[in-house]
């Protein structure tokens, strides 16, 4: 059996002295898609943030092993270079830095870490344009400031575009469906599905079952009060939708 992609053991994490994650355990194997569902405030986004290394989250106890190494010892940029990707719920706008500049800097950093050759500008632009096309984004999109004035759908598709360029091992999708209409949701989901393979794992954080119609998970976990209170297969999400979160609490 291959090594797990991610092992989370009894993870307890605080924000401003308040316990948000209260003993989470989770194992994700290569190629698996895990959905994390749960009511508002259950700690879903916190889990994604802790894994990506955002400041302001204090890990009190427990451990997180990613590809056999202690993830918590790595800086956020090191995690990204090691293959962790967070698709943000609310991507920030960075006026004055073009999307192309941002993507190039990012891809350069990750490729350099992997020991891959740096892509020259024409090669990179060609690649970026192709990926844009597949996500139904116009090439002008690359010239604009990072997320500047993007619609909600464009911001989310930009996250998927970055993911497609960085080819992560473990992608964390934080409420990628929020603020998306059905069409945008389908495009985003297709972008994700195109990246699914036997080596790449996904953790899909969502409030609604809807997204899971498009990105079909192997496992569904329900988070409540900072703990996983129920785990199951795809059908658990459907049951939740029918009965509501009050059912498991």
């Amino acid at each position: 059996m291959s090594e797990p992609m991610l092992v989370v053991k009894d993870l307890v994490a605080e924000v401003d002295g308040k316990t948000i994650l209260n003993g989470i355990s989770l194992t994700v194997n290569p190629g698996e898609v895990h959905a994390i569902m749960g009511p508002n405030g259950s700690g879903k986004s916190t889990l994604a943030n802790v894994l990506s290394g955002r400041d302001g989250y204090q890990v009190v106890s427990g451990e997180v092993i990613y590809k056999g190494q202690n993830l918590m010892e790595l800086e956020p940029e090191e995690r990204a270079r090691e293959g962790i990707f967070l698709a943000f719920q609310y991507p920030v706008e960075i006026p004055g830095v073009s999307n192309m500049q941002f993507l190039k800097a990012s891809v350069d950093a990750v490729r350099a870490h992997r020991g891959d050759e740096e892509l020259d500008s024409p090669a990179f632009m060609k690649l970026a344009r192709e990926k844009c096309k597949s996500l139904n984004l116009k090439p002008e999109f690359l010239k604009r400031g990072v997320n500047e004035g993007f619609s909600g759908g464009e911001k989310k598709r930009n996250e998927i575009l970055q993911m497609a360029l960085l080819e992560p091992s473990l992608a964390l999708l934080d409420e990628t469906d929020s603020g998306l209409d059905i069409d945008a949701l389908q495009v985003a989901a297709e972008g994700v599905n195109a990246l699914r393979n036997e080596q790449r794992s996904f953790i899909v954080v969502t409030h609604y079952q809807r997204l899971l119609n498009y990105i079909v998970p192997d496992y569904v976990h329900v988070l409540a009060g900072g703990k996983i209170v129920k785990s199951g297969g795809r059908e658990l999400a459907l049951e939740l939708e029918e009965k509501g979160y009050s059912w498991i609490q």
């Binding site: 955002r54 995690r79 990204a80 967070l86 004055g96 500049q101 800097a105 950093a109």
Partner: protein, 446 residues
């Protein structure tokens, strides 16, 4: 050794005794009198409160008038050659260079000439306007300039003409072994319905340019004329530069300025805009950057004296290390200037706890039917944005540099000229010289 302001005044007065060949300038005599009565600003002078003249009091700029010296044309062209399809007029250390300039077309058409080459008609045009927009009593360095300038440029756009190519005015400074001073002048008269573009580039070749450059300009926009003015002050940091720009807008005229201003030992920009006719418009977009122990002071004053005029002013500042920057932007709405719409904003990024910024947006309104706003903010790099970069594998130092460039670039992108943008990009890369890698990113074309 440090001299007193009175001694500085004596030095300037002595320096200004030199014959200039411009004795026909009627403003010179008045300027002489004004300067004789004026005092050199000190820290007690409100308008100069945050900009001590220490560099002028500790280095002797005034014993020696600047020399153009020997400059290879090929070297000079590396500074400004990127801007093509423009009429070029080049000054080296304040002195006109025939060899480097390329503006004979405009000279033949009577659109452009040096003060020293003016014919009688042009002399009377200069005398009609010079010193009418700029209030010498309020600007001691302008008074010094007008009493003994080395030379000036007259640009005269005839009524209802459109200059297709921009005029590129280059003030190049080069390495100087001893400190010296230069005084230059510019007068633009855009007649009714005229339209032109002016690119000003203050730049240096080499380092340790010990020059005090005192430049003053008056722009007279007649009814319905348009001027697009792009300014780059990107000289060596050893230079001292005091720059006055006085603009008069007649009815239906349109003035738009974009500027980038790098700090130096001492840099002071005064921009005064007088609205003299209804429906005139003025846009001032500027970005200033200072590092090391540089000093940069931006003083803007918009006099809305008549009704139905609009202005939009946005200045951004980037201040780091032990440098010091000043922004003072004033909108003055006179009693009769009803239906004015005027907005002014100054946003700053302060990156070091040893840097200092003094910002003062001012709004004085005496009319009762106007729409105005003013504001200023000082901030640091946004943590959320930095994390976004880091989450994509970009290290923190690069992320910081990219965010800084982005902050500045937001203003650079507004320059409506690709060639000028590209010159600025190169100078910025030099300014942020530790981020070599960013230059290639910056020039990514799509």
């Amino acid at each position: 050794m440090m001299i007193s302001p009175q001694e500085l005044k004596q030095q300037i007065t002595a320096a200004n005794q030199q014959k200039t060949g411009l004795e026909w300038l009627s403003v010179a005599e008045k300027a002489n009198t004004v300067f004789a009565q004026a005092s050199i600003p000190t820290r007690k002078t409100e308008e100069w409160k945050y900009s001590p003249l220490t560099p002028l009091l500790t280095q002797d700029f005034f014993s020696v008038q600047s020399q153009s010296g020997k400059l290879e044309k090929s070297a000079a062209e590396t500074v400004y050659g990127e801007i093509q399809n423009a009429h070029r007029i080049v000054f080296v250390n304040g002195l006109f260079s025939q060899e480097l300039s390329d503006c004979s077309d405009l000279e033949n058409q009577g659109v452009l000439t040096l003060f020293s080459n003016c014919n009688d008609e042009q002399r009377s045009l200069v005398n009609e306007h010079l010193g009418t927009v700029c209030k010498l009593e309020q600007h001691v360095f302008a008074a010094a300039n007008y009493s003994a300038m080395q030379d000036g440029v007259l640009i005269h756009a005839a009524a209802n003409t459109k200059l297709e190519q921009p005029i590129h005015l280059v003030f190049l400074s080069s390495e100087q072994s001893t400190p010296s001073h230069a005084q230059t002048n510019l007068l633009v008269v855009a007649e009714t319905g005229a339209e032109l573009q002016l690119i000003e580039q203050y730049d240096s070749l080499g380092q340790q340019v010990q020059l005090f450059h005192n430049h003053n300009a008056e722009l007279v926009l007649k009814p319905n004329s348009r001027l697009l003015h792009l300014r780059m002050q990107v000289e060596d940091e050893a230079l001292c530069h005091v720059n006055g720009l006085h603009i008069q807008l007649a009815q239906d005229s349109h003035y738009e300025q974009h500027s980038i201003n790098l700090g130096s030992q001492l840099k002071r920009n005064d921009i005064h805009v007088n609205f003299n006719g209804n429906n005139a418009y003025c846009r001032l977009n500027g970005v200033f950057l200072s590092k090391h122990k540089q000093h940069i002071d931006n003083h803007l004053n918009l006099e809305h004296a008549v009704p139905h005029c609009n202005s939009d002013t946005v200045y951004k500042g980037f201040i780091t290390d032990q440098s010091r920057a000043v922004f003072n932007g004033r909108i003055h709405i006179h009693k009769h200037a009803q239906k004015t719409e005027a907005h002014l904003n100054n946003k700053n990024l302060l990156l070091s706890n040893k840097a200092e910024l003094d910002t003062k947006p001012e709004l004085e309104i005496y009319a009762d039917d106007v729409k105005c706003s003013h504001g200023a903010s000082i901030g640091q790099l946004d943590e959320k944005s930095l994390f976004y970069f880091q989450s994509r594998g970009i290290d923190r130092a690069t992320a910081e540099a990219m965010l800084c460039l982005g902050f500045v670039n937001e203003m650079v992108e507004l320059f409506p000229n690709q060639q000028v943008q590209s010159v600025i990009t190169e100078r910025l890369a030099r300014f942020f010289n530790d981020v070599d890698k960013l230059k290639s990113l910056w020039s990514l074309e799509s």
